[in-house]
């Protein structure tokens, strides 16, 4: 009886240590598996000839949402279980004009940080990691 109790305590101690290590490992793996994005800061808005205010961004910043409408992924911060984490917020945009080089967007996006070139397709509210961080 005594031996089996000792054995159980030893196993429990070993299991506890292994689980503690696994938690630390899982946290790192979770970070590694997040979608990797690059970021771009939206430059100051410019006024067009017809009076509308637009911002100039790379076409790679523009994604398509479920309804087939153009959108951008705003990079934002929130408090998660393990501290501050980054996530993307899908925001619909109106395209003023677009060409091969640049895309002009209507709306107040000046100074915002946009996710660009994700390692896989992004969805709204998804936690991400930045290449630069």
């Amino acid at each position: 009886m005594k031996n089996s109790k000792q054995f159980a305590v030893r196993m429990a101690a070993a299991l506890f240590i292994i689980l503690a290590l696994c938690i630390v490992l899982a946290h790192r793996i979770e970070i590694l598996l997040l979608t990797e994005v690059r970021t771009v800061t939206v430059p100051p808005a410019i006024r067009m000839e017809d009076g509308s205010t637009v911002v100039k961004v790379s076409p790679a910043c523009i994604f398509t949402n479920r309804n087939g409408q153009p959108c951008v992924m705003l990079l934002q911060r929130r408090e998660g279980t393990w501290g501050t984490e980054l996530y993307v917020a899908e925001t619909s945009v109106q395209i003023y004009s677009a060409d091969y080089d640049f895309c002009f967007l209507e709306g107040n996006l000046e100074g915002q940080t946009l996710a660009i070139y994700p390692s896989r397709s992004l969805s709204d509210d998804e936690t991400v990691r930045c290449v630069e961080e």
Binding site: Q6, V9, R10, A13, A14, I17, A20, L21, V24, L25, H27, R28, I29, L32, L33, T35, E36, R38, A60, Y100, D101, Y117, S119, R120, V131, E132
Partner: protein, 363 residues
């Protein structure tokens, strides 16, 4: 000290020395990979990209790229003694030498100014074969056309010759009227941009669609660093494991100690402290695992078939019929050599640490 302990100590020192040798070897290979291959994105099309060398030349500085035409087998002769050697010849832009990381023993890569005359850069092996013992200006005849040799680059070492199909490679300048197509572009890599993004930007600069095989050599440099760090991570795991075992022993000793409360408390404190240290050390050590997302499976990090496929692709890359200067093949060889060094170095490190521990323990 007992003879057995001394033997363990000697064995430990020998294992650690060999381990250090392999780790230094891996670090050297990782560094040499960066020296021998360009930190660039290679866009390659065997049929030729839809732009000629002459069209690409004026845009190279603004676009941050270098271009080379498909190679052709030529007869290179020195003219004076009538010696002739079979070689590969590629027409390139003037900045190709800097992008391809060529290292010169004599002279330098031809400049833009040299476009009026025929200029060529030859490897050291060809220089020795054709111009041994001769100094001064060298003149080379490529298929009967005269070229001034403006530089001799180093091509010694087995790994450097990978991809050159065992023939010396001559780089020559192109004339403004040349319509030779571009076989590959080397676009200076930017860590903050993806390869596709950079190719797209270059296409905009060149005002031509660029379609071909994209090889991100910059990311492969990064992978070399990641593999080295992974080696350090696995080596450091020995200390974490030892701390965990120590913690386990102290916690069990605290549980089984029935006599003195203070001694029991001290054992428990040691055990908990060692465990906390092990967890903290493990978290720090995990920071060494920095694999770029492009080399990881999408959802499951334990998708071992995925890693298997990646390794097989690397091996296939080494076995394919090589191009004149196949940078990705050179990278595959270097990365495999680095991995093998670390696979040998890590167990030796563990064995060395374990032997030293046995040596210091008075048993």
């Amino acid at each position: 000290m007992k003879t057995r302990n001394i033997r363990s100590l000697i064995c430990g020192v020998i294992c650690l020395s060999f381990s250090a040798f392999f780790f230094f070897g891996a670090a050297f290979v990782s560094g040499d990979l960066k020296n021998r291959t360009p930190f660039a994105i290679e866009l390659y099309s065997p049929q030729g990209l839809e732009v000629s060398i002459a069209q690409a030349s004026p845009l190279t500085e603004r676009g941050g790229f270098a271009a080379a035409s498909p190679g052709e087998k030529v007869q290179a002769a020195d003219g004076a003694k009538g010696r002739s050697v079979l070689a590969y010849c590629q027409m390139t832009t003037a900045n190709y030498g800097a992008y391809a990381n060529l290292q010169f023993s004599e002279g330098q890569y031809f400049s833009d100014d040299a476009s009026a005359e025929h200029a060529a850069v030859i490897p050291e092996s060809l220089s020795k074969e054709l111009f041994a013992g001769r100094s001064g200006k060298k003149t080379l005849y490529i298929n009967g056309t005269e070229f001034a040799v403006c530089g001799v680059y180093k091509d010694d070492g087995v790994l450097v010759q990978l991809g050159s199909a065992k023939l010396p490679v001559i780089y020559r300048n192109g004339s403004e009227n040349s319509d030779a197509p571009t076989e590959h572009l080397l676009i200076g890599a930017d860590a903050a941009k993806t390869a596709e993004q950079q190719v797209q930007e270059t296409a905009v600069t060149m005002r031509a669609p660029l379609e071909g095989e994209i090889k991100d050599l910059g990311r492969l440099h990064q992978l070399g660093d990641s593999i080295l760090l992974l080696g350090f991570f696995f080596a450091g795991l020995w200390f974490i494991l030892r701390l965990c075992i120590f913690s386990y022993q102290k916690l069990i000793a605290a549980y089984e100690c029935k006599e003195h409360t203070s001694q029991r408390g001290f054992q428990a404190f040691l055990g908990a402290g060692a465990l906390a240290l092990a967890l903290f050390g493990f978290a720090l050590l995990l920071q060494l695992v920095r694999i770029p997302a492009v080399y990881l499976p999408e959802n499951n990090i334990f998708d071992f078939p995925y890693y298997g496929r990646q390794i097989l692709r690397g091996i296939q890359q080494m076995n394919t019929d090589c191009r004149i200067k196949d940078f990705s093949r050179i990278c595959a060889f270097y990365l495999c050599a680095e991995t093998v060094s670390l696979i040998l170095g890590v167990p030796l490190f563990w064995a060395g640490c374990q032997s030293l521990r046995w040596g210091f323990l008075d048993k």
